[in-house]
Amino acid sequence: MTATEIHIGLQLPALELPPITRTTLALFAGASGDHNPIHIDIDFARKAGMADVFAHGMLVMAYLGRLLSNWLPQPRLRAFNARFAGITHLGHRIRCGGTVTEILERDGERLARIELQAVNQYGESKILGDALVAI
């Protein structure tokens, strides 16, 4: 992807993920080092007032990271921001998308701002975010 091909309104190829399972969460807890029991231990989750365990926000952000690094080489990534807008529950199928919303210059470098969204199969937002990439 060259700078001339990147323009406002351009959509990144979407990334569709399989449903979140307990295995997804167990693997992510181990691999990410986030052992907070609320994501892997239903007894702890229930005591905390939740119906069940739920996904780490950082799992969904990692999926958005894949969306970005699928599209451009990762060393071009300058900033990556996420606001966790909703809890991702077991069975949710996450779809990651991004749209170029701004072309700007910072520190002598040409950048594109990409607005990011991760939603589940019901269209509920899980992450709203953005990224800056060098183009």
Binding site: L17, A31, G33, N36, A48, A62, Y63, P75, A79, N81
Partner: protein
């Protein structure tokens, strides 16, 4: 209520080596199958020194300490009541397997909304490598629900 006197508090610094095995495990956990994230020779052929650290994995490396959640207690956060509100990364230089990264964190802000029903703690982390090079800055917002 959380004590705003903790604003500005520096947390204990720590250092961690980026391991290829951990990067492969992380790739598996997030469904990443591209060779540059799994196979060092493919990564090197693509111009990396070794397997690249994926965009959000710096957050995980910051958890590589004996008690990664100890600071929650220090500032008055309680594990069953917290949620991750926001996360940001600013990247200054790429990190790869074999790098030895140092994490220096500080409590940047504490505030509340809805008359204290929601409390927020902002943690800022500076990451540098074994050469003292500035790799990235992380910013985490943790939300505590007081109902």
């Amino acid at each position: 209520m959380l004590d705003k006197a903790h604003i500005g508090l520096s947390l204990p610094a720590h250092t961690v080596e980026v391991e290829k095995g951990r990067l492969r495990f992380f790739a598996k956990a997030i469904g990443e199958t591209r060779a540059i994230y799994l196979d060092e020779s493919a990564a090197q052929a693509a111009g990396y020194r070794s397997l690249p650290v994926p965009p959000t994995f710096l957050f995980s490396l910051d958890l590589e300490q004996a008690e990664p959640f100890a600071w929650f207690g220090t500032v008055g956060l309680s594990l069953p009541r917290i949620l991750h509100g926001e996360q940001s990364f600013v990247y200054h230089a790429p990190a790869c397997a074999g790098d030895v990264l140092s994490f220096h964190s500080q409590i940047a802000d504490i505030y509340d909304k809805k008359n204290g029903l929601l409390e927020f703690v902002v943690k800022q982390t500076r990451v540098s490598d074994q050469h003292g090079r500035h790799i990235a800055d992380l910013r985490s917002v943790i939300v505590q629900r007081n109902s």
